[in-house]
Amino acid sequence: MRKFTTLIVCLCLAVSQLWAQNRTITGKVTDEKGAPLAGVTVVTLASDRKVLANTTTDANGSFSAKVTDQAKNLQFTYIGLDEQIVSIVGKNSLSVKLISNAASLSEVVVVGYGTQKKKDVTGSISSVGGGEVAEKPNQSFEQALGGKAAGVQITIPNGVLNTPPVFRIRGTNSISLSSYPLIVVDGVPSFTGDYSSSSAAGNALASINPNDIESIDIAKDAAATAIYGSRAANGVVFVTTKKGKAGKARVTYDGWVGWTTAYGLPELLNTAQYLAYKTAASANNPSQAAKFLPATDAHGNTIDTRWYDYVYRQGYSQNHNVNISGGNDATSYYFSAGYTAQQGILKRNEFKRINILFNIDSKLSKSITIGGKISYSNELNLAAVTSGSLSGEAFNTAGLGRAGLVLPPIIGPYNNDGSYNINGATIGYTNITGTSIAYYNPVPELDLSRSNNEINHIQSNVYFQYKPFKFLTLKSFYGIDYLLTTTDIFQTPVTADGYSATGNASDVQGTYKTWLWDNTVQFNYTIAQKHTINLVVGNEQQRRTSNSFGLNRQTLSDPAYTVIQAGWVLNNPTSLGLGENYLLSNFGSLSYNYSSKYFLQGNIRQDEYSALGVKKGIFWGASAGWEIAKEGFWSAAKLDRVFSSFKLRGSYGKVGNITGIGDYTPYSTFGSGLYGGASSLAFASVGNNQLQWETSTKTDLGFSFGLFHDKITAEFAYYNNNIDGLILNVAQAPSTGLPSSPPANVGSMYNKGVELTLNARPITTKDFSWSTSFNISFNTNMVTALAPGLPSIQTSTSGSETVNQSMPGYSEGYLWVIRTGGVEPLTGKRIFINSVGTPVYYQNYAPAGQFNYSTTADGLTKYVSPTNATSISQAADAVMYANVIPKQVGGWTNNFRVKDFDLGVTFTYALGFYNYYGTNAGLHDQRFWNNAVDVLTDAWGKASDVAKKYAKPVFGDNVSNGSAMPMDINVFSGDYVKLRNVTIGYTFPVKLLQKAKMNSARFYISGQNLAIISKYPGPDPEVSSNGGGNTSQGVDRNTIANGRTIQVGINVSF
C-alpha cells in the first residue's frame, strides 16, 4: 500500500516536471479528531467536474497534487466519511477535515432505513455503545442493558444460562401478545425469545456476540418507532454490528475467564433440626402416623445431606474473541471469530457458542457501493434435567432448584452399597414412614439424563447502493435470518421422569426462516445552507416461515442405549408445526430542519400482514424540536454562558403491535377426528376475520440541555402510551356454535411516566477523570378495560397456582392473594381473613367436635361463609393485594480513571413493586418437605408465643403457610439496588507496548452481581417463575437465582 502511494506521488512529481507551468497543491487530510487519514482519494476536478487526475494521501495524511489551470476543485473521498469538494482557486495549500458518516460514531443514531445526526433527532432514542455490553459474563447482549438507558427495564428471570431476559421499554405494553421490543439487527428484524424446547434455555439473540456490537439504539416514542409501523408498540432496538475502519489491518483479541457461584440460598434445617421439628409436627397430628428416623451412611456417620451440594456448583467460564478490521478508501472489512464456553451454577447447565461475523463494504465506483454481512453462530444450550425455573416449570417434580429445597436432609443420594437411593421413580426413604415422597433423587438424573438444545443461526445480508447525485441515494437491501434448532432429550429409565415409560427420548427439529427485501430512495438536500430536507421512501417485504417436527420414543429395550436412534419400542410424533407469514410495507420519512434550530419530522408506514383479518393498516408518528440555545435572545440573555444547548421536543403518533400473534388468526379451522371409525372434520380453532393489531397511541414531550460545554447533560421525557384494541379471547354468544372463544381487539391499558437521564464529567484531568451517568424512569401501568363478560384475567404459574389477576383499575398481573391475620397466640392456628373481613381460624388437624375452619380460636364453631362455603378459598376470599410492575427502574454508572487504571461501577435498581415469594410457602410446608431454619424461631411452639410468623407445626399442613392457597404472608417488597458490575482495569503504557509491537493492551478484573440491597427474603428479587409473561410477573416459585461471577480478562490489539 505504502509502496503504491509512493509510486503515485512519484508519478505526480514526474508529471509536474513535464508541465512546469502547473502548480502543486499540498495539504493534509485529517479526521474530525485531527488524526491523519491515510489513503484518502484526492481527485482533481475541472469546473464541469470532469476528472483530471487523482492521487491519495500518504501515511501522514499528506498529499501533493499537481494541477493545471483547468483544475478548480479537489474532491476528497474516503469510505465511511463524508465526501468533500474544496475549491482550489487561488490556493496552494489545504487543510481538510473529513467528517464521519458512519452509524458507528456517537454523533449519529440509527433510526431505521438510515441514520440521523444525534443533534437533529426529535424522537426519543437512547443509545448504548457496544462497549457497555461487551466483556460481560453474559450470553446475549441485552442481558447487559439493564440500567443503561432510561425507560429500559431488563430483568433476568432466573439463573439458568441463556434465559431470555424480560425486556421492557416504557412498561408492559400488552396482555396476550409479546411486550418484547422489535430487535432489528443490521436492518433485519431478529427472532427473539427462547427457541429451545429443552430444559436449557436458548435465547435467539445469543447468536450475536456482544463483542461484535458497535451500537445499540433504542427507539421509544411514536416518532422514533413509527417507521416500523405495526411492530413498533414495544419500542424498536437497532443493533449495529461493527464495520471495518479504513487503515492498516487491526487485530484485536479479547479473552476472559470467570467463576460463577450461587448466593443467598435459603438456610435449611440439618438432620438434627429436621428430625426434631418434623417429629414434633407429627405428634401434633394424631391422624397421620408419620415417623422420621436418622440413618447412617457406609462409614457409620449419621446422614446429613445438604442437597444444594448435589444441585449447585461453581461454574467456570471462558470467552475468546479475535477480530480483524481494516480497509482502504474503497473497501473496508470487519472479521471476527468468537468462542465462549460457560458453565451455570446448576450442575450440567452449560452454554457454548462458536460464531463468526464478516462485514464488508466496497465502493465499486464513485456512485456505486456494495456490501454485506455473513454471520454464523452455533450454540449449545446444555442441561441434564429441568431446573424448575423456566416458564412453565415452577412445579416440576424434577426441578433441580426445588429438589435442593424440598428433599429431607435425613436421606442421601446413594445407598450404603454405592447404588442410587431410589424407589422406582422417586427417591428412596426407608427411614421415613407414614408418608410418601414423590420427589426424585437429582443425582441419577444429573448423571444419566440430558435435555440439550443446539441452535445454528445464520444472519446475513447484502446491499447495493447507487448514488447518482450527491443528494440522492438508491439502496436495495436483502437480508436473511435462519435459525435452526435441534432439541435432544433423554430421560433415563432408571428413575425420575423417564421411569414410568422405561426411558423416554425426544428429538425436535425446528427451522425458522426470515427473508427480507427492502428498497429505499433517500433524498437529502440543503437549500441556502438553512433548509435541510431529508426524505426517505421505500418498500419492504418480509417473509417468515417456521417448520418443526419431532419424534418421541419410549420404552428402552436395553438400558445400554442412550440415543433416540436405537433401542426403543414406542414411537410418537411430537412438536409438529408449520407456519408462514408475510409482511408487505411501504414507508416514508420526511425530516426538515431550519438552521439546526427548528426541526420537524414525520414517519409513516403502511403494513399489510398476512396473519391478520384486517391486513392493511397505516401507522405514523410526527415530532418537532426547537433548539433554543441557537436563538439570538438566548445569547442576548447570556444564557449561553451556562447552557451549551437547550432543546425542546415533542412527538405524537400511532403504532401497532403484532408480535407473538399466531400466523392464522383470521381463520376458523377444522382439524381431523373420527366417528364410527370414519374420519371426520372437527372444529379446531376459532379465528376472527376482523382481527387487527393492537394500537398504541404515544405522546412524548421532553427537553434536553447541556451545561458548561456539555460537561453536564440532561434529558427529561414525559410519555403517555395508550394501548387500545388489546387482543383477548372473548367468549361469543354460545348460539354462534363456537367451541372456544375467538380473539378480538377489545381491551385497553396505558403506561405513562417520566424519564430522567443525567450525564456528567465532573473531573477530567490528565491523570484523573470521573464520569457518571444516572437514569431513572417512573412508570404507571394501568389496565383500563377488558372485554364484556370478561371482568378479570387470571394467569397461573405453571398451571398449578394462580397468584396474578389483571383487571381494570389495577396494573397488569396484580397479586391476588388471601389475607391473613397472623397466628393465634394461644393455639398456634393460622388466622385467615375472609372476603368480608372476618377472621377465620384454621387447623389442619381437627380433633373430634372441632372444625378445620372455625370462627372461634377454639375450633368449635364451624365457619360458614356468606356463600355457604365451609372453608377459605382463593376464589371467594382473595383480594387484589399488590402490584408486581416496578414503579421506578434505572441505573447509575460511574467510570473513574487514575493514570493507567480504570474503575467502572454500575448499579441497577427497581423500586415500588412486590413479589410473591412462593418458594417461602414451600420452605414452611409441613409435609416431609425440608424447612427454612427460621421455623425454629418464627413458628408457633407454645401457648406464650405471640406474633409468630408461622403456624403451629402440624404434620401434613400445607394450608397454614401458603402451599395450598397463595397468602399475603408470602408477598414481599421486591425493591432492590444491585451492584451489577464492578470492573477494575489497567491499561499498559504505550511505550511498553511498542516494544511488544502492540497497539494497546488492557487487563481487567470484574465482578457481576456482587451485592444486593433489598429487604426481599429470597435469594434474588429479580427472578420470575414465568419468564417474560405479561400478566404473570412477580412470582418466585422455586426459581434459581442469578449467580455471582468474578472474571478476569485481557484485551490486546495489534
Partner: protein, 474 residues
C-alpha cells in the same frame, strides 16, 4: 448527466415497484383446514357430515344428558344418595340460571352441531349433486332439525301449550358475531319440519343406523308432529315409516341381544332407525351413558330406576330383562338397575345411543290413530309393539280415552332410559310425582306450570348476547 438518468430511472422503477408476492398475504394454515375451504367436494362433504355426528355424541347431547334427562325429570329414575354430583339439579328440580352446567352444555353443543350442519348446507350448492352428495346434505338437514327440536322442547314451553312463547334463536348461517333473538316455539318447529322435509326428499342412500336415512328423518318428523299435537301429519309420516321404510321389529327372543350389542347396523334394518355411535376409539370415556347407571368397570352408578317402573313389566315381558334388582352401596333399599347400556367398559366397542326406533314410531302411529278417531288402528299398532315384547300378552283391547293411557304405559315401558318419558308428560300437560329418592322417600309434585320443566337460557348466552330473554322462573 443523460447517461446517469438512463441508469437512474430504471433503478428507481425497480426500487419502488420491486416485485412482491401478494398471494403470501393470503397464507392459510397447512395443518388444519380453513372453514370456508373445508367443504368443496363430495368427499369433503362426507367428512364434514361425519364430524357433525361426533358432535351429536357429546356427553351433553345424545351421549348422555338428553337421554338421562328425559327419564330423571319424569317418573322413571332418580339420583342415589351417594352420588358423584351429576344430574342433581334435574333430580331435585333446583336448576338455577347461574351455574347450571347442563343448561350451558346442552345449548352450546347443540349450537356447535347446528353450526356444522349450517356449514354443510351452505357449502352444498357448490358441489355436484349426486345421490351421495344429496344424501349427505339431507343428513345435515336432519341433524339440524333434530338439534332444533331438542332445543325447542328443552328451552321453550311445549308447543301443545304455548306455541307462541319464546323458543330458541334460529341460526341458519354461520356468523360468529351474531347476536340473535329468540324465535317463538312455533317458528322453531316450522323450521324443524321444513328441514326434515328437505332431508326426506334429498336422502336415498342407506348408510346404516349410525347415520340419518330417509326414513330416520321421516320418523323424527313423526315425533315432531307428535310433540306438536298435529295428529294428521303424525299419522301420515309415521305410517310412511311403518309401511315403506323396510325397518322391522325384532322378535322378542332377539330383543335383549339387540340391546346388548354395541355394534351399529350397516346394512340390516332392525328396530333402530338412527343411533349415535360410540366405539372403542371414539367415545365419551367415563362420561358414557352406561357408567351413569352402572358401577360396572368403574362407572358412577348414580342413577337407579323407580320400583314402579320395574313393576310395570309383566314377568313374561322381555323388557323386564333389561332391568335388574340388587343393592347399591350408598343407597338404602332395593336397587333397580338399568341394563340397556352394558358395554361402557367393553374392550371392543361401546354402547350407542338410540335416537329413533321403529317401536317409538309405531306407538306414535297408534297415538295418531287414537287422536284421529280410529281406535281400531290405534290398538292395532299399540299391540304390534306390546305383543311383540311380551309373547304371553294377548293385547290391549280398551276403548275411548283409556287407549291413550294404554299407549302411554306402553311408551313408558318400551322407551325407558331413552329420554322419552318426560316429553310424553309435558306435551300432554300432565302432572306427576317425581321421586327424587326412593329410600328415604323424597318426592316432588310436578305440575305443568313448574318452571323447572324447561332449562334456563345459559348465562354465557345472556352475558354475551343482549338480545336474549331469560325463561320465566330463572
Amino acid at each position: 448527466m443523460k447517461s446517469r438518468m438512463k441508469i437512474l430511472i430504471p433503478c428507481l422503477a425497480v426500487l419502488l415497484f420491486a416485485s412482491c408476492t401478494k398471494d403470501y398475504l393470503n397464507d392459510k394454515p397447512y395443518t388444519s383446514v380453513v372453514l370456508q375451504d373445508a367443504i368443496k367436494t363430495e368427499g369433503d362433504l362426507l367428512v364434514a357430515v361425519t364430524g357433525m355426528y361426533s358432535v351429536l355424541r357429546t356427553t351433553d347431547l345424545f351421549g348422555r344428558t338428553l337421554p338421562v334427562k328425559g327419564d330423571i325429570m319424569a317418573d322413571n329414575t332418580f339420583v342415589i344418595t351417594a352420588n358423584s354430583g351429576r344430574y342433581i339439579t334435574m333430580n331435585s328440580f333446583t336448576s338455577t340460571a347461574v351455574g347450571d352446567a347442563y343448561a350451558l352444555a346442552v345449548w352450546q353443543n347443540a349450537y356447535i352441531g347446528i353450526k356444522y350442519a349450517n356449514s354443510i348446507i351452505a357449502a352444498a350448492p357448490g358441489i355436484t349433486a349426486t345421490a351421495n352428495s344429496k344424501q349427505y346434505l339431507g343428513e345435515a338437514y336432519a341433524a339440524r332439525a333434530l338439534l332444533y327440536f331438542e332445543l325447542a322442547r328443552n328451552y321453550g314451553h311445549p308447543y301443545t301449550a304455548a306455541p307462541n312463547d319464546l323458543g330458541v334463536p334460529l341460526v341458519l348461517t354461520f356468523d360468529q358475531n351474531l347476536l340473535p333473538k329468540r324465535n317463538t316455539v312455533k317458528e322453531v318447529y316450522t323450521q324443524v319440519i321444513a328441514d326434515l322435509e328437505q332431508a326426506y326428499s334429498l336422502m336415498s342412500v342407506y348408510r346404516g343406523t349410525s347415520y340419518f336415512s330417509k326414513y330416520a328423518a321421516r320418523a323424527l318428523e313423526a315425533r315432531v308432529y307428535q310433540n306438536m299435537g298435529d295428529w294428521a301429519n303424525a299419522k301420515t309420516t309415521a305410517l310412511d315409516v311403518v309401511t315403506s321404510s323396510g325397518f322391522a321389529l325384532l322378535p322378542s327372543a332377539s330383543y335383549v341381544a339387540y340391546w346388548g350389542s354395541p355394534v351399529a347396523q350397516t346394512t340390516t334394518k332392525n328396530e333402530t332407525l338412527f343411533e349415535v355411535e360410540s366405539d372403542y376409539t371414539s367415545n365419551n370415556g367415563f362420561d358414557q351413558i352406561g357408567f351413569i347407571y352402572l358401577t360396572l368397570g368403574g362407572g358412577y352408578g348414580d342413577i337407579l330406576a323407580n320400583s314402579d317402573l320395574y313393576a310395570a313389566y309383566s314377568a313374561t315381558d322381555v323388557r323386564k330383562s333389561l332391568m335388574s334388582t340388587g343393592t347399591r352401596s350408598g343407597q338404602a333399599g332395593t336397587a333397580y338397575f338399568c341394563n340397556k347400556y352394558i358395554n361402557a367398559a367393553s374392550a371392543t366397542d361401546k354402547d350407542d345411543t338410540k335416537v329413533v326406533r321403529l317401536a317409538d314410531v309405531m306407538l306414535i302411529l297408534a297415538e295418531a290413530y287414537y287422536n284421529t278417531a280410529d281406535p281400531v288402528n290405534a290398538n292395532l299398532y299399540l299391540n304390534k309393539v306390546a305383543t311383540q315384547r311380551d309373547p304371553s300378552f294377548t293385547g290391549w283391547t280398551d276403548a275411548g280415552a283409556q287407549i291413550l293411557e294404554d299407549i302411554l304405559v306402553e311408551r313408558r315401558k318400551e322407551l325407558a332410559f331413552e329420554g322419552s318419558r318426560l316429553w310424553d308428560l309435558v306435551r300432554l300437560q300432565r302432572s306427576w310425582t317425581k321421586t327424587s329418592n326412593q329410600s328415604p322417600l323424597v318426592t316432588i309434585a310436578v305440575t305443568p306450570t313448574n318452571t323447572q320443566l324447561i332449562l334456563p337460557i345459559p348465562t354465557n348466552e345472556i352475558n354475551a348476547n343482549p338480545n336474549i330473554v331469560q325463561n320465566p322462573g330463572y
